[in-house]
């Protein structure tokens, strides 16, 4: 049983000590679940932030809570730590500290497993934290791109540097590289906190309004903060039309001093009062306690899902936050309460409300009458009368559906269903409203994309080859085409207006769509059937999407991984055990396979693998890494393909790429061994200047 947890895996770069762990093949689904998990915006008072700064050296409550995002129910951070420690040192879990610890028994039973290996991934609840809604609204325009490929590239390069400094050519790299790729993938699909008008994944579900009861903040402060939140739409000039605070659940977070029973009681009293008078629930967090100081200090992971900007900022000045295990557990307890008792019920209530008021009427209205509807939309020049009323122009003259429009509500219903793991409902809803969006490519594209994703995530228990061919792949292609059309449209209109914004805005979503699809294809069990689709998408990314050079190489390597995974299920058992084991864990090292000559000899396995293809794309990656002077990556790639090309003199001649790369690498090693790291960095610097 692996020690590695989901969060541990995603943060492997920061502590590359796990070498030989396996990860499940459906890792992509977990990452996606995380990427679209409900967003909780954190509003805090300056006093509270200052208090936290003094106590923990962290700028704000938000910065603190960030570390508790991701899979809140599994407590990877504490579990991991407990595994790492000898049993007698194990702290008492702070079970007495909160008194509200229903998860305590869960905690114990769960220690044996972890997030990576749960059979049903919907059992894990993921959440993301973000800044206060006000901050969100003020930063960024609705057409901001999902990610900026320059930033992505910068991030990647930073990571590569980090890896290079922490490893050698001989490091067992398989898992590390995979983790790097998945990290890269997670950033590419969810790297912004900007609010999109077209989808609701980044729209906060809960607004956490925090008070410091220790400093005496009380009912009045709470009331003011709440009304400030509720009136945001009227007080903020640029409050987007597609957003409404009514769909966001406000919750008070009362931070108190746990050593004082008195304060605990008064906080509880405050909570009751807030509920009674403002109809808002509160949760109590024992944020301070004397014993925290003496307790075991546990270092916390960086949150997996975080915006690129934050990531880059973090990379520049890495902070390693250590908190007492007791506090961590207490925080998890509180968050678990928040999620299970407040947030999820809230979402479910909303979903069933929208379902009754919007979805059912929509269904009955157009049920079985698509032709009629199409006719309607065509005659109305793309927008029918009913839709017209839902549309509002913003001040730049762009049309948006408003928050209360049935289209957007349904979209939200689908998105929230996705968040809750109700993929079937999500699928049917996406499918339904995609017809409504026919005249609105930007809405349509996203809708089609998520329609396909919901199927692959689990709307269908079994994904057959036929479904891939006739349903899912066409959906993805249509989504990509629609995104593309949007980009063309945008650049042509912008060409007139002279704006500098162009293609990439929408293109970054297109890239995400391709990424999502390819990774989900790879998570299917019949990789023989699904890898070609994944490959096709990855190749499209390479061919059409704008990415930095290192990012592109990541894709090339992923293509290689795909080929490596392409093993006909009928011969799985025939492929040497090492390879089979690796294929289970979706490996990318093909060393073991190549060296086993039997595989080639066996007439039965002939043509049922793509190992040579895989090796070839690894080689291509190696050459490109060399161009980028990423010598560690070059070395690892060459190590991967060593076996595949061993003893085949067609490819081992002196004047061919492989030999040349090896030479170059050997030279580089001697060079860096002997002297001057500076010199090479100077080279890089001058090159940067020239560029």
């Amino acid at each position: 049983m692996g020690k590695l947890s989901y969060e541990g895996y995603m943060n492997l770069l920061f502590h590359p000590e796990y070498d030989e762990e396996t990860i499940p093949s459906d890792i992509a689904k977990r990452i996606i679940s995380n990427a679209i998990s409900p967003v909780i915006s954190v509003t805090s008072t300056p006093e509270l932030d200052e208090h936290i700064q003094q106590a923990y050296g962290i700028d704000s409550l938000y910065m603190l809570l960030r570390f508790f995002g991701n899979c809140v129910t599994d407590r990877d951070q504490t579990n991991e730590y407990s595994f790492g420690e000898a049993p007698e040192n194990k702290p008492s879990d702070g079970s007495s500290s909160t008194g509200t610890s229903p998860a305590d028994s869960n905690l114990r039973s769960r220690k044996r497993s972890n997030t990576l290996f749960q059979r049903d991934l919907t059992q894990s609840r993921y959440i993301r934290f973000t800044r206060s809604l006000g901050d969100l609204v003020e930063s960024g325009s609705p057409d901001d791109m999902l990610f900026d490929y320059h930033s992505l590239e910068t991030f990647l390069q930073a990571m590569l540097r980090r890896i290079e400094s922490q490893t050698t050519d001989k490091t067992t790299h398989t898992l590390l590289k995979k983790s790097l790729y998945h990290r890269f993938f997670s950033l590419a699909i969810s790297s912004t906190s900007y609010l999109s008008p077209y989808e609701a994944f980044n729209h906060p579900v809960v607004s956490l309004i925090a008070l410091d009861t220790h400093l005496g903040q009380g009912y009045d402060d709470a009331r003011d903060l709440l009304s400030e939140f509720k009136s945001l739409s009227s007080t903020t000039e640029i409050f987007p039309v597609f957003l409404s605070t009514t769909d966001i659940l406000p919750v008070f977070l009362l931070c108190y001093y746990a050593d004082s029973d008195e304060e605990y009681e008064s906080s509880k009293a405050l909570a009751r009062k807030l509920k009674k008078q403002l109809f808002v629930e509160s949760i109590l967090l024992p944020l301070w306690k004397e014993s925290y100081q003496e307790n075991v200090q546990v270092p916390l992971h960086q949150p997996v899902m975080t915006s690129l900007d934050e990531m880059l900022f973090m990379m520049q000045s890495p902070v390693c936050l250590k908190l007492s295990l007791e506090l961590i557990n207490a925080t998890y307890d509180v968050l678990e309460n928040l999620v299970n008792d407040l947030m999820v019920p809230f979402m479910q209530r909303k979903i069933s409300f929208w379902d009754e008021t919007v979805l059912q009427t929509r269904k009955s209205l157009f049920h079985g009458n698509k032709l009629f509807k199409r006719f309607m939309s065509r005659t109305a020049g793309g927008n029918n009368v009913q839709q017209q009323s839902s549309l509002v122009k913003d001040k730049e003259g762009r049309n948006y559906f408003i928050f209360s429009s049935p289209e957007l509500l349904m979209r939200k219903l689908a998105d929230w269903s996705m968040m809750l793991g109700e993929f079937k409902r999500a699928y049917s809803t996406y499918d339904l409203i995609s017809h409504d969006f026919e005249g609105f490519p930007k809405y349509l594209a996203s809708c089609l994309e998520w329609c396909a994703v919901s199927v692959l995530m689990g709307a269908q228990n079994i994904v057959t080859a036929k479904m891939l061919k006739s349903d899912i792949d066409p959906l993805i292609q249509r989504a990509v085409d629609t995104y593309e059309a949007c980009a063309l449209d945008q650049s042509s209109t912008n060409g007139v207006s002279g704006s500098l914004h162009d293609g990439p805005i929408v293109r970054s979503y297109e890239t995400r769509c391709l990424f999502l699809a390819s990774e989900l294809y790879l998570s299917l069990s019949d990789t023989w059937t699904s890898t070609p689709y994944a490959l096709q998408n990855l190749e499209t990314i390479l061919g059409e999407c704008k990415l930095g050079p290192c990012s592109q190489i990541m894709i090339w390597e992923r293509i290689s991984d795909c080929y490596y995974l392409r093993i006909d299920p009928r011969i799985r058992h025939k492929v040497p055990s090492a390879a089979a084991k690796k294929s289970e864990r979706e490996s990318n090292g093909m060393m073991e396979i190549g060296t086993d000559g039997n595989l080639h000899e066996d007439i039965v396995t002939k043509g049922f693998t793509r190992l040579r293809k895989a090796a070839f794309f690894r080689l291509i990656s190696a050459t490109m890494w060399a161009e980028q002077k990423q010598w560690r990556q070059v070395a690892w790639c060459l190590k991967d393909i060593e076996g595949s090309y061993e003893g085949i003199n067609l490819v081992n001649r002196k004047n061919l790429t492989l030999a040349k790369l090896k030479d170059e690498l050997a030279k580089k090693e001697n060079f860096s061994e002997g002297q001057i790291h500076e010199k090479s960095s100077v080279n890089v610097a001058t090159k940067a200047v020239i560029e």
Binding site: Y563, R570, K574, H600, I603, V604, K606, G607, F608, T609, R610, L611, R612, K613, A615, F616, F617, L619, I620, Y645, I648, N649, L650, V651, R653, N655, L656, T657, L658, K660
Partner: protein, 176 residues
């Protein structure tokens, strides 16, 4: 357009290799071979396409009912994927960024593979008839080589005559 042609043996060993270039034509066009980086990469591209070639070569034959339950030859029977008239020519089997890869199989498992370079970016089409004829004639040459008692199957073909003839076939069919 240049081509890189190779005959590969049973363990992917090169039995014969050649690069064909456009001849100096009347318009005075220069000999145009593969760019250096492709020269260095071609064998790898070819090696990679062997996966596909083998896939095409061996296909599960759904028609074969008898023997499917026999474990004697593995869990299922495999059969060669050929149609009657063009037993050996597989056509275009693979592509890689503007390169097309065609293949031809002999029954004793020798693989004739060719990378066609510099095709139109958008269409990596090859003239199947010409390429097929080329392969067939090379096959005949190969058999003649095989008939040489001093030639052992799977050994590299060193005969200069073979090389010359293959090159002239290439001129005849590929780089007219």
């Amino acid at each position: 357009m240049p081509q890189y042609f190779a005959i590969l043996g049973k363990s992917d060993n090169p039995v014969y290799e050649a690069e064909f270039t456009t001849q100096q034509g009347q318009q005075g066009q220069l000999q145009k071979g593969f760019p250096q980086h492709l020269k260095e990469l071609n064998p790898f591209i070819m090696h990679a396409s062997l996966d596909i070639i083998e896939d095409l070569q061996w296909k599960l034959n759904s028609n074969v009912q008898h023997g499917t339950n026999n474990s004697g030859f593995g869990s299922f029977l495999r059969s060669k994927n050929v149609n009657v008239t063009d037993n050996c020519y597989l056509g275009k089997v693979d592509h890689f960024y503007g390169l097309a890869i065609t293949a031809y199989l002999t029954f004793s498992g020798m693989k004739f593979v060719m990378i066609h370079g510099n095709l139109d970016k958008n269409s990596t089409q090859v003239d199947d008839n010409a390429v097929k004829s080329f392969y067939q004639e090379v096959h005949e040459l190969y058999i003649k080589t095989l008939m040489n008692p001093f030639y052992k199957i799977n050994d590299p073909i060193t005969s200069a005559a073979f090389d010359t003839r293959v090159r002239s076939l290439a001129r005849k069919y590929l780089n007219k």
